[in-house]
């Protein structure tokens, strides 16, 4: 009936006792050469909402369930299997001061080496902003020291506690401060440790990309791509060579009570997904073949958007937040179904959902590959709808690589290559 347990079961590891993990992980990765592993640090002050977000996105918690979460002791490590070929090693780092000091001192190398992504969470309600920023600066310094190429995502969290009218302003001003602090920190580290700066290309210096983060709050008309000229001036004038942008930073306004959470986390996982360009190409050809307006591909447990495709007409949709909205809607629909059927939340809950809105449009959401759901939105018409459904079913084999280990992109053309469904159905849980 329903699938075995969630493929993204989280496996807590005894705190502190994981000294060899990252080394092991590397060895394993090298050995298997199949599943891509990524070390993801989740940091921020105690109570800022780190464990809440992780539990909602990956463990099917409802937002209100998070009220019962206790403070995380030291580091809570979980292996989240995402699709068939990516494992996130999620380090949920308890944020109480004593722990933070420990990460920065005794555990410094252990925590901050080999990091793929740092997610830093600020609680918008925090009283002591200065102190939060000071801690943040220390964390960034350590990260830049040990993992120069890590990506940084800063989440300004609990935005629901701000009056709706004020959210945009509050977020912008806080984001500005964080950007400035980040730039200052980078500049400082570079001065102190010039050996970290590589003069030209390559995997060079710890330079933050100070690009505008797509952190606009979804409810607001504000759009990104605004430039922040003041940041330029934060760079020391002596930085003559245009530095390689190794480290990227993006800022998001988030809350567990709305879809903003899905926007941020979809961006976080987006660049980590292997074979993304293949997924995109295949979605595009499927979309054109069935004359769809839009196709979204979701990971089945988190319902994060893995990839999306829109036709030129679908692209004119004025709802810019629709991707995270669909994630949120479908995930809560899954919870509704689970409550009704009494089956576990991480079990498969619905197999097919179709909606035809008269002469306006048609759409369906359906189980696609073992690890994914697909949403197709298209023009109205009974025949068009039926043939699209058949074609989507027929296209499944072409996307089978989503369920298996990485396949060399060159062999992708053939739909029959490895990574079959059977193989990965039991490849579940702890890695």
């Amino acid at each position: 009936m329903s699938d075995p347990d969630s493929t993204s079961a989280s496996t807590p590891v005894p705190a502190g006792g994981d000294g060899g993990t990252s080394a092991q992980v590397q060895a394993q990765a090298a050995q298997l050469k199949k599943v891509k592993k990524q070390k993801v640090l989740l940091m921020g002050k105690s109570g800022s909402g780190k464990s809440s977000m992780r539990s909602i996105i990956f463990s099917n918690y409802l937002a209100r369930d998070t009220r019962r979460l206790g403070a995380t002791i030291d580091i809570d490590l979980s292996h989240v299997k995402f699709l068939g070929n990516l494992t996130l090693n999620l380090w949920d780092c308890g944020g109480q001061e004593a722990f933070m000091e420990n990460y920065l001192s005794q555990q410094r190398a252990h925590v901050f080496s080999n990091v793929g992504v740092l997610i830093y969470v600020f609680d918008i309600e925090s009283r002591d902003v200065e102190r939060d920023l000071a801690t943040y600066v220390n964390i960034i310094s350590a990260l830049v020291q040990y993992s120069r190429e890590a990506k940084v995502f800063v989440l300004i969290h609990k935005m629901d506690l701000i009056q709706p009218m004020m959210r945009e302003d509050v977020f912008e001003s806080r984001a500005g401060v964080v950007r400035r602090k980040t730039a200052e920190t980078i500049a400082m580290v570079r001065k102190q440790q010039p050996e970290l700066t590589s003069p030209s290309g390559g995997s060079g210096g710890p330079m933050m990309m100070m690009g505008p983060g797509p952190g606009n709050y979804p409810h607001h008309p504000y759009h990104q791509n605004q430039h922040h000229p003041q940041q330029q001036s934060q760079n020391p004038p002596s930085a003559a060579p245009i530095p390689q942008l190794d480290t990227e930073m993006q800022l998001f306004a988030t809350s567990i009570w709305d879809q903003s959470l899905y926007k941020a986390w979809a961006s976080i996982i987006h660049d980590l997904v292997p074979n993304l360009s293949i997924i995109e190409t295949q979605l595009a050809s499927l979309g054109s073949a069935i004359c769809a307006d839009e196709i979204l591909l979701f990971e089945r447990t988190s319902f994060l958007v893995v990839s999306k495709w829109s036709s030129p007409h679908g692209d004119t949709n004025p709802y810019g937040d629709r991707f995270e909205r669909m994630s949120n809607i479908l995930k809560s629909w899954k919870h509704t179904c689970s409550k009704y059927t009494g089956t576990p939340r991480n079990a498969e809950q619905f197999s097919d959902f179709s909606y035809k809105m008269g002469a306006n449009f048609s759409m369906f959401v359906t189980k696609f590959t073992t690890n994914t759901y697909i949403l197709v939105c298209m023009p109205p018409g009974e025949a068009r709808f039926n043939s699209a459904k058949l074609n989507v079913a027929a296209a499944r084999p072409w996307f089978r690589f989503l369920d298996g280990p990485v396949i060399a992109p060159s062999s992708m053309a053939s739909p029959s290559v490895g990574g079959t469904n059977a193989e990965q159905g039991n490849g579940n849980g702890g890695e």
């Binding site: 509704t336 009704y340 008269g358």
Partner: protein, 420 residues
């Protein structure tokens, strides 16, 4: 095209009665009055209506009178102590405010009158908790203006607070009403029960009930129409309670229920609901026992459909889009390509392959039904039966609506208009 501002359930700013000197200002702090999805459903409805009208030469229902009428609409009065949650209830149920945003609502200073255009036009009056209309030194209220219309008084009691004073005021109110307006339904919402254990909820309900009945019988009042509901804005209970309240105001409810019961039998449905899409209130269901779980999943289904509609159906596609859709290989107008003019949806639960279906009835109503296991194959027959019942429902509401006269909600009509 219906004018949106007229039917969006906004505050009716014209003082219909001299309850108080000032006109209430538009309420602040609400996110939106109506979702674009609903507006769009209305637009689609209007298009359909015009099309049908063209075809049938004017037999279709004429559009509604564009001016919201205050008179003759059943009125729901929300009363209770300060901060008991009256404005929150009205905002969440009638204006789709996310529950956690009620934290930002300000205390109500004047009576807020909302006029809602729904399957049935009704008004919601949200009273300031700080004013006791029966005991006010500064102002005498025109009781007829407040209680003169058929409707219900909803008394909200904060279950997380000390409720003795609330109960005392409620008793006083009931006694007053019994003298002049004995037919008004009194609905007591024992509110904010989220976070309370089931046992504790029932204890409170028992305690409140006894305190009221004792007081009433001491005063010689028996059989006052008082009902109790346990509610919270953080779950479906508030919508369920409103459903019950509204159902009592629907003329010929029994006939509606019979239609749905019949449909369940012929289509092997487990449960069917007729929803007011705008408020997620169900205005009728079949005669199988009540089941909160079924109501919840069907109500959430309506939510999903509203969201899909808003995101993908509420904006105009460019003309080239239509050209392309109607071009080869289809070579047909969109209208000829579709099977059903109205919104329709089907969903299959992975658990035992149980389907749930939704069908738009008119611009306000949708039929939602949970089907029996494995009945997905029978969809074509099911759809035919549903079509027939939907036609019957449309007739039912046309008749009740057009026949309703000011002051009387009940469509006093003879004959069997639309029963199946």
């Amino acid at each position: 095209m219906p004018s949106t501002s007229k039917r969006n359930g906004g505050v009716d700013s014209r003082p219909a009665h001299s309850v108080e000197p000032q006109t209430p200002p538009p309420r602040r702090g609400l996110v939106r009055w109506i979702s674009p999805a609903v507006l769009n459903l209305e637009r689609v409805y209007e298009q359909n209506r015009q099309r049908v009208q063209k075809k049938d030469g004017g037999k279709a229902p004429a559009g509604q009178s564009p001016v919201p009428q205050t008179k003759g609409k059943p009125r729901l009065l929300l009363m209770g102590q300060r901060r008991s949650g009256k404005s929150s209830i009205s905002s969440v149920v009638f204006h789709k405010l996310p529950p956690q945003e009620t934290l930002f609502l300000e205390s109500t200073a004047r009576i807020q009158k909302d006029s809602l255009n729904s399957f049935m036009d009704f008004q919601v009056w949200d009273f300031p908790g700080q004013i006791d209309i029966f005991d006010n030194p500064n102002f005498t209220f025109d009781m007829d203006a407040i209680f003169g219309e058929i409707g219900a008084l909803i008394w909200v009691i904060d279950a997380q607070d000390d409720y003795l004073e609330a109960v005392a005021r409620l008793n006083n109110t009931i006694l007053h009403l019994q003298r002049g307006y004995p037919h008004i339904n009194i609905e007591v919402f024992i509110h904010k029960v989220d976070g309370l254990s089931d046992d504790y909820k029932l204890d409170i309900q028992r305690d409140v009930t006894i305190r009221i009945q004792d007081e009433l019988s001491d005063q010689g009042v028996e059989n006052a129409p008082v009902n109790f509901h346990l509610t919270s804005i953080y779950n479906h209970s508030i919508f369920e309670a409103f459903s019950k309240v509204i159902q009592k105001l629907i003329p010929r409810l029994g006939q509606l229920e019979a239609m749905l019961t019949n449909l369940c039998r012929t289509c092997r449905f487990e449960k069917a609901y007729l929803f007011d899409v705008n408020t997620k209130i169900y205005i009728a269901t079949d005669n199988t026992p009540e089941d909160m779980a079924s109501y919840e999943i069907c109500s959430d289904y309506v939510d999903v459909i509203i969201d899909f509609t808003e995101v993908y159906g509420s904006w105009k596609r460019p003309d080239e889009w239509r050209d392309k859709v109607e071009a080869a290989p289809w070579k047909q107008g969109i209208e000829s390509q579709i099977a059903c003019e109205w919104a329709e949806s089907g969903m299959v639960l992975a658990d035992q392959q149980r389907p749930i279906m939704l069908r738009e009835v008119d611009r306000f109503l949708a039929l939602v039904a949970i089907m029996k296991e494995g009945s997905y194959d029978k969809m074509p027959q099911v759809n035919m039966n549903v079509d027939v019942v939907v036609k019957g429902l449309i007739e039912f509401f046309e008749i009740t609506k057009t026949k309703a006269t000011p002051g009387v909600v009940v469509g006093a009509l003879a004959g069997d208009g639309g029963g199946e």
